[in-house]
Amino acid sequence: MTDPQILLSVRDLSVTFATKRGPVRAVDSLSFDVHRGHTLGIVGESGSGKSVTSMAVLGLHTGAEVTGSISLDGQELVGIPEREFNRLRGRRMAMIFQDPLSSLHPYYTVGEQIAEHHRVHFNSRRSVARKRAVEMLAEVGIPEPERRAGEYPHHFSGGMRQRVMIAMALACEPELLIADEPTTALDVTVQAQILELIARLQEERGLAVVMITHDLGVVARVAHEVLVMYGGRAAEQAPVDTLFASPAHPYTRGLLDSLPRLDDADDVPLRAIPGSPPSLLTPAPGCAFAPRCARAAGASPSDRLRCETERPLLSGPAGHPAACHFPAYEGVAS
């Protein structure tokens, strides 16, 4: 039953935080698979739950209630003790973050920080780990790696720091790399370099990558499969070409329509999505997107009532499910 090509399998994942104003379910019944050697793009806006999901996979939510199942190569991660997680984090799965400067320790040289991973996971000698750190710096394209390994994070530019983060993440040859907005803080020419670097390392090592981003352009460039999140839930999942060519969920459709594009020829007004993303403190009883949805607004009163009161479940053709009562599938009028 289980496909050996699936490295990470998430089923019915929910993450709930206890807050002063009551419990907030930041991620609600999320399921997805990540294949070896493939990139899953998770797209969403602030508060959509995309980062919370990735932190849950790495077991970084202390104090939050995590339910459901996260399985890495057949091993269940939900509920395992911290000690177990420590053995996996950095070794079999690793993460890079948006802001490399705040993720690196300012008091240690980058060489020491990369070497530390190797020493912890392989119990290797200082000299061996140090050699490995220099190799990794060379591999991620840092010139003069021998010398640079002895420098501190503030000596590096933003793009170079992100390379250091990638070197650190990959030092122990993990199978899964989670990249949370890795290029958002970078300039566009440097972003292109980092995306190319991740793609090259993925190819060479057969890495599975989860690319979390708000930028649909980045998703189009790097992802094989895409998960669109809205209000803590999956709105739509599809292979990248399908998603961009025929989005079934009105939120995905709306996002694509509202983007200004370099390859647009004419200057018709942008079709903006009205309103703002929902608050998770007061979730709507129905579809989280209903208040902003053009399809719901144009529907008959009874259909609209359904959108406003009944939560849509993820359903539809295998490989392209959408959480919408009135999805627009190819060949079906929307």
Binding site: V188, A192, G217, R221, D241, L259, L262, A272, S276
Partner: protein
């Protein structure tokens, strides 16, 4: 309005180095570039939050580059600014009424008139005027940016400098603000200096574009020309680095990836400042800084490159 040759440099860092451009009434000029290229410094000089070291800024025929704060006060009516982060640019302890009417009070309006105008402005930018006594934290990011825009319009300015006005907003909200700014421009005849790093947004809102690199303008001209046939190798690389939201187009695309990072403005390379990253740099590029000049005869586009791309 014309802003010929300006230079600004605090001690060793020359953040903006001898740039010249002009903005016509009712026009939008886009200023694009990466972090540290001097685009925000330029915007702040235009509205005279900063004073240029050398060069001049002329607004409506009058040199404003070295006016005193007192002399600037009446001009503040005409020159306004919209900032990137809507929440941090609004005082959390003031109501929207106060925030929007502040520029009017400073300019001598009565409190009652200012409040009435604030309500009108809220309506104009798509906010509910009944929310006039609320505080900034009660608004979403997109709504807060509408407040910032309403404040900038309070005194009926003729030029609004918008510094990254949509980049802090959620993707689904950006289009709303872009549409609002376009609508207001048509309605009020505003001129914008639109500063952004997002080339897709700039293409959308501007008639003309200036591309900055390390404190200098490397290419400036009509949007269509700059985007469809960029003459400067940096403009080409910048455009090809922007990911397109279209997987098939992305795969088919010829991409120019620049090496290295933008250099520090504190230690700019000699000659053309772009030469260390330029795929077509030659000997002359390392020694001689290219001047901005007309790229193709009969065109309004200028480029600062020894070997510009043929159009």
């Amino acid at each position: 309005m014309a802003f010929p040759g300006r230079r600004r440099g605090t001690a060793p860092v020359r953040a903006v180095d001898g740039i010249s451009f002009d903005v016509a009434p009712g026009e939008t000029l886009g200023l694009v570039g990466e972090s540290g290229c001097g685009k925000s410094t330029t915007g702040r000089m235009i509205i005279r939050l900063l004073e240029p070291t050398t060069g001049s800024i002329t607004f409506d025929g009058r040199d404003i580059s070295h006016l005193s704060q007192r002399e600037l006060k009446p001009l503040r009516r005409e020159l306004q600014m919209v900032f990137q982060d809507p929440h941090s640019s609004l005082n959390p302890r003031q109501t929207v009424a106060r925030i929007i009417s502040d520029p009017l009070l400073v300019q001598g309006s009565s409190a009652a008139d200012a409040r009435k105008r604030a309500a009108e402005l809220m309506d104009l930018v798509g906010l509910i005027p009944e929310h006039i006594d609320r505080y900034p934290h009660e608004f979403s990011g997109g709504q807060a940016q509408r407040i910032g825009i309403a404040r900038s319009l309070a005194t009926n300015p003729r030029l609004v400098v918008a510094d990254e006005p949509v980049s802090a907003l959620d993707v689904s909200v950006q289009a709303q603000i872009v549409n609002l700014m376009e609508h207001l421009q048509q309605e009020l005849g505003l001129a914008y200096l639109f500063i952004a790093h997002d080339l897709s947004v700039v293409k959308r809102v501007c008639e003309r574009v200036a591309v900055m690199y390390l404190g200098r303008i490397v290419e400036i001209g009509d949007k269509e020309r700059v985007y469809t046939s960029p003459a400067h190798p940096y403009t080409r690389a910048l455009l090809s680095a922007v990911p397109l939201p279209d997987p098939a187009a992305e795969r088919a695309r010829e991409r120019i990836t620049l090496l290295g990072d933008p250099p520090s403005p504190a230690a700019p390379p000699p000659g053309c400042t772009f030469h260390p990253r330029c795929p077509k740099a030659r000997a002359v590029c390392r020694t001689e800084a290219p001047l901005l000049r007309i790229a193709t005869a009969g065109e309004r586009r200028e480029v600062a490159c020894h070997f510009p791309e043929a159009a």
